[in-house]
């Protein structure tokens, strides 16, 4: 009896110690996570706050300080009236340029990637693996290497200094990635489905449309997010192959910071940066859940 009581209290003490240790480790883990999150978020916070501050106040109190004023004018200016290199239309034209470049390039490169992936995984032919390996090389070749060839091609096609030229570049540059994503996803779709469909009388396109595509949403979401953010944020090709009114927003942002007349308008710059960052951010907010799920998803059961 006495032993039992003793055991019980020992048990109880052990449980308390374990609980305390558990709490301590959780505390350390979450503490570290909060610190790292803050390190990542503070610069963003500074930019967000500055976009609402008065330029005078920024000049007085410095770039990094808490706001004493609140105004929205900087956003309006950045959007439609701020002067960049002589034209005073703000960022809106460049924003639309970026959309005109990113949306078609994303859709086309994803569609081509899905088709490539379907063929390379379900309709293999002699040499298809070798072809896939060659396409993969595109993933590892840095964009700078292809600058000169692209200059040559765009010049010959008459597409230099045009959004369409950038669309072409981003479609071609993106195919390696989209093909890789889709092919690896489609490999996990059982081949028996294709065989059954072939016996059922379905052909190449019908199988793609009726069987493969309906199973593809996770990987298509991943590919679209990947391509959209990648193409939207791309700077090098934009700044090299376009100028002035044809520039995508990333290139225009740099032009904006360089075109300082006398005073650096930190408030407008902050707003412009945020305008430029908004679309990928929104895409990720809405699709991020699927993005993570799609990247980690294996076979379809």
């Amino acid at each position: 009896m006495a032993d039992a009581v003793l055991d019980q209290s020992l048990d109880h003490r052990a449980a308390t110690v374990a609980a305390r240790r558990h709490f301590l480790t959780r505390f350390v883990i979450y503490g570290l996570l909060v610190i790292f999150a803050a390190i990542y978020l503070v610069p963003l916070l500074v930019v967000v706050l500055n976009s609402f501050r008065d330029q005078q106040e920024i000049a007085r109190n410095g770039l990094i300080s808490l706001p004493r004023s609140f105004r929205l004018e900087a956003w309006g200016q950045a959007w439609s009236s701020y002067c960049i290199g002589g034209t005073c239309e703000g960022m809106q034209r460049n924003f639309y340029n970026s959309l005109k470049m990113t949306i078609p390039a994303t859709i086309i490169s994803t569609a081509v990637g899905a088709m490539n992936g379907y063929i390379l995984s379900k309709w293999r032919f002699r040499g298809s693996e070798a072809l896939f390996t060659c396409m993969l090389l595109g993933v590892f070749i840095p964009g700078q290497i292809s600058l000169m060839p692209w200059a040559f091609i765009l010049g010959n096609l008459g597409l230099s200094n045009s959004v369409y030229g950038l669309v072409l570049i981003h479609v071609i540059q993106g195919i390696s990635f989209t093909t890789l994503f889709c092919r690896n996803y489609y490999v996990s779709i059982p081949d028996d489905l294709i065989k059954a469909a072939r016996i059922d009388g379905a052909g190449f396109w019908r199988i793609f449309r009726k069987i493969i595509l309906p199973l593809s949403s996770p990987i298509l979401i991943v590919t679209v997010i990947w391509q959209f953010t990648g193409i939207w944020n791309e700077y090098l090709f934009g700044v090299v192959f376009t100028s002035g009114q044809q520039q995508p927003i990333t290139a225009a942002l740099v032009a904006l910071t360089a075109s300082g007349t006398n005073v650096r308008a930190y408030d407008v710059m902050s707003a412009a940066v945020l305008i430029g960052a908004l679309p990928p951010l929104l895409i990720y907010l809405f699709g991020g859940k699927y993005f993570v799920r799609g990247l980690t998803q294996g076979a379809i059961k």
Binding site: P190, R198, G201, R206
Partner: protein, 368 residues
Amino acid sequence: MSTLTIRSLRKNFGAVEVLKGVDLEAQNGEFIALVGPSGCGKSTLLAMIAGLETVTSGEIRIDGRLVNSVAPKDRDIAMVFQSYALYPTMTVRENITFGMESRRVPKPQQDEAVKRVAAFLQIEPLLGRKPGQLSGGQRQRVAMGRALVRDPKLFLFDEPLSNLDAKLRVDMRTEIKKLHHRVGKTTVYVTHDQVEAMTLASRIAVMHQGEVQQFDEPATIYNRPANMFVAGFMGSPAMNFLPAELSEEGGRPTVALQTADGKTVGLPIVQTLPSDTPRQLVLGIRPEHIYRFDPDLQRRKPSIAQIDAVVELVEPTGAETMAVLRLGAKEITGRFDPDGTPRMGETVTLGIDMARACLFDPTSQRLI
């Protein structure tokens, strides 16, 4: 009317020869089982009949028509896959109608066909569900419904039961048999399970290393296996093989076996031997043809021969008891009635039914 004829069919994957000249035929309404260990080429053979694999050489005829280079959809076949291969994003109804949809069958006709098949397989309540919401047995039924709805010339089954648990497998086996009786379609059924082959097929083709070892009715395959591979593969527990020597006792031919105590015992041979029978033989005895000897049994079955063996291990399964017996240097398995089970360590006198024994040539492995 639908028949299947296969003549000297070969298949190579690069340098690897998967099928080495297969001959096979199925009469109208016949149920052919292709059975063999994994890698024997049975699934490849089925895929070639379906048109999913190309033919290296030889010919495949369905109803006399050469189909070597005919597309799967134009062969008028239906196939049930091991994985069922139900289209995961479609409902059961859409799964069943997909083939008709592809062939542009008019809608009212499709509805009627679905109704007929669903009633036949009792899957009406499932028509609106997706495959993910079905149990294994239900998926199996839907897969069969998808095959049945087309009313094809030829049914192909690729190990359709191996993804089911043991009890369901037995139930579905019975259902497939009933189904075949009712539909009466020519069927080719691939399995690695010899029990499935025995219970379902009107004829069995036992395959090994890309060749058909024997193609015959189940009883013949079981009782008169063409060679040691077929003998060992069909039947569980497997047939016992004992090395023996051809001998003579009182003018009658016998097989001489070494027993545990070093003596030689001659078992009389019942069958008439060909003149070129080799001296060295392999005696094949199925576990169920080994009995505990008693004079009554011998009176009823004169072909019973006596031999002593030591009981090494006893494995009761409930309905019957397996015993591992030491006979000379070899261990053999006997199948006993639970009432007459020998005890471990006991020396028993066995009665071996020599009328059911098989003799093999150890070099060619063929049945004598």
